[in-house]
């Protein structure tokens, strides 16, 4: 297991190095001079030069890459061209919205999908299965912004249980912050839950047709015990894969939902920065997201190994 972990860790570092190089190179290739962009058309040549020095644009590419990387490691992501404020502050404020939102949505999605998927698998081909699978089809088909609007209409406008949008800061208490994230998390979770439930169902059905399930039944375990002790853990591999993909997606993919609920999240930050050609912000947020995806994959890889002893041995 230790070997496996170290190996995964090494591949994590290599992925990060490659990803950072690619991102840096892409931004370098992009046309336009940031200093020129910040000062506008009427800028004097000497002020431009001074700003370039201030931004470190006069240094060589390897030097700038190194400065960028070491800066990020120390938490310094540079300064936004547009707002002229440190990017780290902008990102961390957004991250405190997006990360809890993503995790919240993921938890809701798991809480819905696992029981639903397991139920459907045990009732294969029967009425319960058909109804549940029909419902997941529905969940997949509904556009999430429409579902978000329906949630607002019902729970915010009619029932007045939640506010229709905006984010209550964590300083005002965990409960009220979570409450302001509940509707967006639900809206994000629904299609994810539908996918996850389907994956759970088919993974379980695959496992339930395996020979060792018959062995378990021949031992005298009931159907329920067989599912619990021999089915679930073996079905976890495909489910974990999807979970990892979903978490990566939820981190920045909630841009439409953030827009619907006026949430100051990462998705909106990227969108605004791209519109304003604030490339250094795009670069930093992209790097951060890549970092998050790689870390999530690393965690999923470890989870695989915990679930399946064969993976531990193979490395």
């Amino acid at each position: 297991m230790l070997r496996y972990t170290l190996k995964r860790l090494l591949s994590l570092l290599i992925s990060l190095a490659i990803a950072s190089l690619v991102i840096f190179a892409t931004i370098e290739v992009a046309p336009g001079d940031p200093a020129f962009f910040m000062l506008g058309i009427n800028a004097q040549e000497d002020t431009l030069a001074a700003l370039r020095v201030e931004l470190g644009l006069d240094k060589s590419k390897p030097q700038r890459y190194w400065a960028w990387i070491t800066g990020m490691i120390h938490g310094d992501f540079g300064t936004s061209y547009q707002y002229r404020t440190p990017i780290s502050g902008m990102i961390s404020a957004r991250l405190w919205v997006s990360l809890p939102l993503a995790l919240y949505a993921l938890v809701i999605s798991v809480l819905i999908a696992f029981p639903v998927g397991i139920y459907a698998a045990t009732k294969r081909g029967k009425k319960g299965d058909l109804i549940v699978m029909g419902a997941t089809q529905f969940g997949l088909a509904i556009p999430n912004f429409w579902f978000a609007m329906m949630l607002v209409l019902i729970f915010a406008i009619n029932l007045r249980w939640f506010s229709a949008g905006g984010f209550t800061s964590w300083d005002k208490g965990v409960f009220s912050a979570l409450k302001s994230l509940t509707l967006p998390a639900l809206a994000l979770a629904l299609p994810q839950a539908a996918i996850l439930a389907r994956v759970m169902r088919s993974a379980l059905l695959d496992v339930l047709s395996e020979d060792f399930i018959r062995t378990a039944r021949a031992k005298g375990l009931s159907r329920r015990q067989t599912l619990q002790y021999h089915g679930l853990r073996n079905a976890m591999i495909p489910v974990l894969t999807i979970l990892g993909l979903q978490l990566s997606f939820l981190l920045a993919g909630g841009i439409i939902i953030e827009q619907v609920f006026y949430l100051p999240g990462l998705g909106r930050l990227i969108f605004q920065s791209i519109s304003a050609r604030d490339l250094i912000v795009v670069e930093s947020v992209t790097m951060l997201l890549v970092f998050a995806v790689i870390i999530i994959n690393f965690i999923i890889d470890l989870a695989y190994a915990i679930v399946d002893p064969r993976l531990r041995a193979r490395s």
Binding site: E210, D211, F212, R214, T215, A216, R217, A218, K219, G220, L221, S222, Y229, H230, R233, N234, V307, D308, P309, R310, A313, S315
Partner: protein, 529 residues
């Protein structure tokens, strides 16, 4: 008094009649073998006894275990019976264990379920020792994937006997195993039956496996019992015509055409194939495992050569090298002087002269392609592909020569039986008129009667097209049947070679001797006929 009494058992699955009026008895200490071809209902009889039938099954009749009718028991009561009074061993040791649990836990689970008075782990260690896996040798905390097939089958037997059942049901327990392992497992089952005076219901498609150990043999066909008899009576005076046919096909021998001595077609010279093991630490060089270690032989034109050995002996690696699928580490493989692997890839000029037929008639076809497309795939090896009419003509010819109809070209593989699919695989091999055909366990998955037909087809084809065969198999009776010369392989080396008749009747190497003595035989009389 009988332990198990089955009375007039009939079974329908989704309105399809599977079993008709089955009756049998098993007493304590008695071994009853049920044999028949696939689809004869033998496994369903076992599953009905366990009440583990697939969904949509309807049963009629009685199954009495210790005079209790199991058909009347509730599912909860059946759960108490399964694994406790009746244990079951399955065919596929590779997949019958949960891959994510330790073997100790899997044996202990059964104890925990039925015998709260025992310490589960201690009992698990005890039964595993009994089946020959003492914890000093094989730790309880090992996972199934670290064990060999034979060891896994022992674990499954340990699970089945963990609660000292009265009746043990073994469904094809040795079919997936090598001959020597098979002999050990059969011996173990026999020993356990005597020591605990258990009843044993042994299901197998191979009559030869059970003639030496069974007290009674039941022959099934299409869901009927056609004959019940003691082994000696059954072999010497079979009553039912089907039994006679079954015994005849089991001992079937194909007649090979006369051998002409000719120049070597394929030359294998000092071939070494090794794989690197994972490094122990970054400072030492990685270890090597030699799958094929300095192997040399020739295949003369027109000969039928057999290659036998147990799983893991390097047969498959050697096959891959001969087919040019991977480069050899050292040595040379040439066909008529041309290397099979050259310039970093398989040599097409050679590849079009040899074809291969694989074991699994179910897995070796793309299910979405029609037969016509499947069998014309070797055309890709030719420089100039045949025209549409030419290829139609060749499809028709090769299908007819394997005993299928030209119209079968438009069908999909799932529309054929296992034996027919193997015919399609052979049609694919002969369509470009190769010189050499490699049969990799090509008849191992087939029923005896189908196997006999395919073997006849293979010999007929070599008469017709002047083919050279390399026949790779772990099944000695098949190799003896169809080859002129034989190579015996063990741990990557060839330990014995010679003419088939000589090697089989007078083996020199100790390993060959043990292989031949472990192979089940129907009886001395039929074997030498």
């Amino acid at each position: 008094m009988s332990l198990l009494q089955i009375r007039n058992l009939s079974l329908c699955i989704n309105r399809l009649k599977i079993l008709h009026d089955i009756s049998m008895d098993i007493s304590p200490g008695e071994i009853v073998a049920i044999t028949g071809e696939s689809g004869s209902g033998k496994s369903m009889t076992a599953l009905a006894t366990m009440q583990l039938l697939p969904e949509g099954s309807k049963t009629k009749g009685q199954i009495l275990i210790n005079d209790r009718d199991t058909m009347l028991l509730s599912e909860t009561e059946m759960c108490r019976l399964r694994g406790n009074t009746v244990g079951m061993v399955f065919q596929e040791p590779m997949t019958a264990l949960n891959p994510v649990q330790t073997i100790g836990a899997q044996v202990a689970e059964s104890v925990r379920l039925h015998r709260p008075d025992l310490d589960p782990m201690a009992r698990a260690a005890e039964v595993l020792t009994r089946v020959g896996l003492s914890p000093e040798l094989v730790s309880l905390s090992r996972f199934p994937h670290t064990l060999s097939g034979g060891q896994r089958q022992r674990v499954i037997i340990a699970i089945a006997i963990a609660c000292s059942p009265k009746l043990l049901i073994a469904d094809e327990p040795t079919t997936a195993l090598d001959v020597t392992t098979q002999a050990q497992i059969l011996h173990l089952l026999q020993k356990l039956t005597t020591e605990d005076s258990m009843g044993l219901m042994m299901i197998t498609h191979d009559l030869a496996v059970v003639t030496q150990m069974a007290d009674q043999i039941i022959i099934m066909k299409n869901g009927h019992i056609v004959e019940k008899a003691r082994p000696s009576n059954l072999l010497n005076t079979p009553k039912h015509p089907y039994t006679k046919a079954l015994i005849a096909t089991s001992a079937h021998r194909a007649t090979l055409p006369r051998l002409r001595q000719e120049a070597p077609l394929l030359r294998v010279r000092n071939v070494v194939q090794s794989y690197a093991l994972p490094r122990r630490s970054i400072f030492t060089a990685p270890g090597k495992v030699y799958a094929v270690n300095d192997v040399s032989f020739d295949i003369p034109k027109g000969i039928r050569l057999g290659l036998v050995g147990e799983s893991g002996c390097g047969k498959s690696t050697l096959t891959r090298s001969i087919l040019g699928l991977e480069p050899v580490k050292s040595g040379a493989i040439t066909l008529d002087g041309e290397h099979v692997f050259s310039a970093g890839r398989p040599n097409l000029a050679v590849r079009r002269r040899m074809q291969v037929v694989f074991q699994d008639p179910y897995g070796s076809f793309n299910p979405r392609h029609r037969v016509a497309r499947l069998i014309t795939e070797p055309f890709n090896l030719l420089d100039k592909k045949p025209t549409a009419t030419e290829s139609m003509d060749r499809i028709a010819k090769s299908l007819t020569s394997v005993g299928l109809l030209p119209s079968d070209a438009q069908k999909y593989p799932h529309q054929f039986s296992g034996g027919q699919r193997q015919r399609i695989a052979i049609a694919r091999a002969i369509i470009i008129r190769p010189d050499l055909i490699i049969f990799d366990e090509a008849v191992s998955a087939l029923d005896v009667s189908v196997r006999a037909q395919i073997l006849d087809l293979i010999t007929e084809l070599c008469r017709q097209y002047n083919l050279t065969y390399l026949f790779i198999s772990h099944d000695l009776s098949v190799v003896r049947n169809i080859t002129d010369h034989v190579l015996v392989m063990k741990s990557g080396k060839i330990v014995e070679r010679g003419s088939t008749e000589e090697v089989f009747s007078n083996p020199q190497d100790t390993y060959t001797k043990s292989l031949i003595s472990a192979a089940p035989q129907l009886s001395k009389r039929t074997y030498h006929a």
